[in-house]
């Protein structure tokens, strides 16, 4: 992966991370009063996938899960509308009705989530089947366990759909670890359904490695990642959690630091402006 592409991915990740930091700030100072599902720590998944899609000139149908701020932002969703959504305003991307978990945007082909974990699995498969358009379905490692997700994987494989299942695997269902819930992994499940299945880290290079087959055949990537904040809200479970964002920033050096500083300033301004409208 060349450095420019890596920086492009970092830019998107920085946009997402700085957005989420402001969300946390505004939850703590009670400007946001509804539940939030912050995606900080997981942003490199959406940032990398959206950069790959852009490079391939593909505008996929996107079926996000409840923890979807980064998905929305990385794929080009309007940031002001997301701020407004979290503030419960009619000018929000879901008219203030969806809140953090049901982000929707016709502009970027992103379909809202109904709160039934994993329902976006079969829904995305149905939309992909009916339109034959490239489709990405984002699931958490817990949502992926839903029986109807497994049924949908099987049918997507049978119909050879141009679909990419992304399991954002942070190893936690609220706070219950995967090892408590199951003794199998999604890669094996995918392969047993004859899907292309891989278990990888949220390192952009690892994700990119599989991109040649994106939308050419049904594929599932179980991407191991980390959730920095609580399942819902602004608390931190473990301060020692590996942070891909910090790691990439260090690796990429000054250019990344500058990008991040600029995003920090710009996003702070945007939030301030929107909050002043209240």
């Amino acid at each position: 992966m060349n450095k420019n592409f890596r920086l492009e991915i970092f830019k998107k990740a920085s946009l997402c991370r700085n957005f989420e930091e402001r969300v946390i700030e505004n939850v703590n100072n009670k400007k946001i009063t509804t539940p939030v599902y912050v995606s900080a720590g997981q942003e490199f998944i959406a940032a990398t996938l959206s950069s790959i899609c852009k490079k391939k000139k593909i505008k996929p149908l996107i079926f996000g899960q409840h923890r979807c701020h980064s998905t929305y932002l990385a794929f080009g969703g309007n940031i002001i509308k997301l701020i407004d959504e979290l503030l419960g305003r009619e000018s929000g991307c879901t008219k203030g009705k969806g809140g953090s978990a049901s982000i929707h945007s016709k502009d970027i082909n992103m379909f809202g989530h109904d709160g039934l974990m994993g329902s976006n699995g079969p829904i995305g498969v149905g939309a992909c089947f009916a339109t034959k358009k490239p489709t990405i379905i984002f699931l958490g490692d817990a949502a992926a366990e839903e029986d109807y997700v497994l049924g949908a994987l099987g049918w997507a494989s049978h119909k050879k759909l141009p679909i990419l299942f992304i399991v954002e695997d942070n190893d936690l269902s609220i706070l219950t670890k995967k090892s408590v819930r199951r003794n199998w992994n999604m890669k094996d499940v995918a392969r047993s359904f004859k899907l292309e299945g891989h278990d990888i880290k949220d390192d952009p290079k690892e994700i990119e490695k599989h991109s040649n087959l994106f939308f050419k055949k049904p594929m599932l990537l179980n991407i191991n990642t980390n959730r920095i904040y609580w399942h819902a809200g602004s608390g931190i479970d473990n301060k020692k959690t590996f942070d891909r964002f910090r790691n990439e920033k260090t690796k990429l050096g000054n250019q990344a630091i500058k990008i991040d500083e600029q995003y920090k300033i710009n996003i702070k301004k945007l939030w301030k402006l929107q909050l002043e409208k209240q």
Binding site: S102, L116, P122, I123, G126, A127, C128, F129, D147, G154
Partner: protein
Amino acid sequence: MEITVRETIKKTVLKHLKEKNGLILGQCLSAVGWVGGTIPELTEKEGVIELSMADVANGGIVVGAGLSNRRPIYVIRYQGFNWFNAPIILNYACKSKELWNVPCPIFIRGIAMEGSIGPVAGSSHCSLYYRMPGVKIISPMTPKEYKLAYKSFMNEDEVYYVSEHRASYGNHKELNDFLSDDVDIIIFSISITRFEAQKVKETLEKENLKIAIANILWIKPFEIKDQWLRTLEKSKHGGIILDDDYESGVASDMAYQLMKLSSKKVEVMGLKNQSAGFSKKSDNLPPNEKEIIKKIREIIKKNVNYKNTL
């Protein structure tokens, strides 16, 4: 020769696939009988889509097809299968327009049948849908009514639950209301009980009882005609709702609505509060002519006794 409900459904589906770029999805569609002869014998390329046996996922797959504006027809061969099929339809398709301004029109063909077919497969289960927002429910029992259901669906962008009954497939007659200002009781009947209501009227009128009949086609929104209310209000002994779902669902709610709009009592008769099994002994069937007549006699007797005490 007059066309039956079965032929009407088959023609409707064919038109939907050939002229409207539609889809029909379901389990075992092409199995023996093609769902009681209601599905044209076409291929997947032509829009007949065989789903796997994963019921819950299938409901979601149909929702996805609905979002793509292919206006899928979804066949649920036994209405009780909705316990598995309905969750994603009700939680996504029915909310999508209101929450995200994205319509998700789906024409759900929920099919009822009766008789020794167990705890899940028998009867209608509209009440599962009835209590949720964002869905319209219609129960056509005649060719004209079926055409109306489809036409309404195509003119709107709503989720339609179409409560069918296999016993109506052979029917080619229209079922008319009988309304008058001078009746003993008015029967409001739903689905397959509408045929039974006709028999009850004939039998009781031989005993000089005057029976009105209101055929309930639109279940949600419940379309209460002015003439029905007038007949109910002027009736001697009020009304009775007949349903082939459990009494505590749609029928009770309709009775409540009718009683709010009138000064008369409306009773309810539907499936008994018991589980059905796979034998004649353990069937839980919709009210039949004999049972309905018995109930009407009880209502009249109770009402007369009550009036005598005043």
